[in-house]
């Protein structure tokens, strides 16, 4: 009694809304418009390898990597402390970590605009103690800060969920065998939490590479990341062909990266958010 008809509407849906759009994206990326008509050409990809665009790609990857490292450095201890057994009100604390994610991420980004301005709260407070106003907004710092702020919970939660599932008897065994807390951490907790770390890294790095909103609002239009480049091609310049080629490149980078980390993720289930 193997009925599969129930999936037919979905398969139909996939064909229209996943396969056809991907086909169109590929079609646009391998064609160029000339006055005489549309011709097949690899020009779009060739253009992407020009130094200026490679620099944009490099900058996107670097900023995303910095943000991911910051999230890891800030988030790992937090996950560790949240999972420790002597923490009171643990559920509330975890809930408090998730709560900001429920707020619209544009509002979360917008909040920093108010804080970082030259006449914003931080500079006003600094002024009170005699520090001249700093340029906090519209630079790399602001973009990284925005990314870390937005994506931090994505790092903490997977690590927390893996850490809190660790069989406590393992840790007790290590302690009984005479390991000091540092050794227990290095030899037991850290290796066991690696799958969570990997999925945390993916969940922060991926959206950080592709964002165009954070860099637009907090970078003041001058820190072009690859997402901004794509947006520009589609909305301002109108060069769909080049835009599609960049999108396709970005998709490949992400999917290859995912393939790389998914090996770790498969070993543990439920490390992600869902």
């Amino acid at each position: 009694m193997k009925k599969t008809w129930a999936a037919y509407p979905y398969i139909f849906w996939i064909i229209i809304f996943t396969i056809v759009p991907m086909g169109l994206l590929i079609y646009f990326s391998i064609t160029v418009k000339t006055p005489t008509g549309t011709i097949i050409s690899m020009d779009n990809f060739r253009r992407f390898t020009e130094p200026i665009y490679l620099k944009v790609l490099a900058r996107s990857l670097t900023l995303a990597a910095i943000s991911t490292v910051c999230c890891l450095l800030l988030g790992y201890p937090a996950a560790l402390f949240l999972s420790s057994r002597d923490l009171r009100h643990k559920n509330t604390m975890v809930l408090l970590m998730v709560l900001p994610m429920w707020m619209n991420f544009l509002l979360r980004t917008y909040a920093w605009l108010t804080l970082l301005e030259r006449k914003g709260l931080i500079n006003t407070l600094l002024g009170k103690i005699g520090i001249p106003p700093l340029n906090l907004l519209y630079n790399d710092f602001a973009v990284v800060l925005g990314m870390v702020y937005n994506f931090l919970p994505f790092m903490v939660l997977p690590i927390y969920s893996v850490l809190s599932k660790i069989d406590h008897s393992l840790i007790e065994a290590a302690e009984d065998l005479g390991a000091d807390p540092l050794r227990t951490f290095l030899k037991v907790r850290l290796p066991l939490s690696l799958p969570g770390v990997m999925s945390g890294i993916t969940m922060v790095f991926m959206p950080a590479v592709t964002t165009f909103v954070i860099s637009r609002l907090l970078g003041g239009g001058q820190y072009t990341l690859i997402g901004n480049l794509i947006e520009q091609q589609f909305l301002t310049v109108g060069d769909w062909n080049f835009g599609s080629a960049i999108s396709l490149m970005m998709m490949l980078i992400i999917l290859i990266g995912m393939g790389f980390t998914s090996r770790y993720e498969k070993e543990q289930e439920g490390g992600g958010l869902w």
């Binding site: 200026i52 340029n135 239009g221 480049l229 520009q232 589609f234 301002t236």
Partner: protein, 346 residues
Amino acid sequence: MKKGFFRILMVVLCISVLAVGCGKKNQVELNVYNWGDYIDESVLQEFEKKYNIKINYDTFTTNEDMYVKVKAGGSHYDILIPSDYMIKRMIDEGMLEKLDMSNIPNYKYIDSKFKNLEYDPNNEYSVPYMWGTVGILYNKKMVSEKPTSWKVLWDKKYAKQILMMDSQRDSIGITLKMLGYSLNSKNPDELEQAKQALIEQKPLVLAYVVDEVKDKMIAGEAALAVVWSGDAVYCIRENPDLDYVIPEEGSNLWFDAIVIPKGTQHKKEAEMFINFLCETDIAYRNADYIGYSSPHTEAVKRLPKEITSSRHAYPQEEDLKKCEVFVDLGSILKEFDRIWTEVKSH
């Protein structure tokens, strides 16, 4: 409990579907696509009430954004308000409807010096909406001497206090002016120099903005900004420390006009809307609210003296001597796209 949950859900679903359905009585809807902050929005509601036509109002930030969106298809606008050179381009590409001026009697109020301009020589496609210049808005408290040249935007003294305009035609145009060329230059050498100048300027720029500029300048977040004249008038009204200047190298003189794109289903209603915007009272309210200069003779008469005598909003002949109107550059536009992409990516 679970059943109850589902029942509630179905009810909510039905209500929302019904609500969506109800919104679409047989009312005509006009899709209007205009610049951000470019109308007194109460005017829209008045039109809706008066003619029982619903208006869907959307805004764009630059001519290029608007063009790309309309050209792509997918959106169906009935009213657009682009600038001169873009109107020319759209006429040439056959994207605009010819207007039936007998449906727009209020067209008679438009000052004749704004009619039959180069972008629409026989005035078949457009009705002027506003006009103005591009210049430098500066904060007197932060800039010691009154700027006279575009070069002040390249002055290291004001590093990270300069707001450039995130609009390719305007930013490249003023750079060409600064270098002493025409802002309609097609010469690859001159364009290359402009690109280098913009790249050189980039470290000094605080941000590339369009709509934020008003908020930022009023709040005193930056010392200098490239703005359109009407935004300058608005900002000076809010913050008297600000002043506006058209640099001596000359600048861009522009005209925005109302047009109807091909493919509209509601040409008659769109013309009613254009006529409505040309009513004296409405044109006056718009000009007063947004601060731009109106081509409407009667509306200008009604505006307060301090505005109409202000050289920011209504510049004299001599201020405009060196100003140029943008012309459509045809195929060289691709080069502008490329320069701008490279400047922003640098």
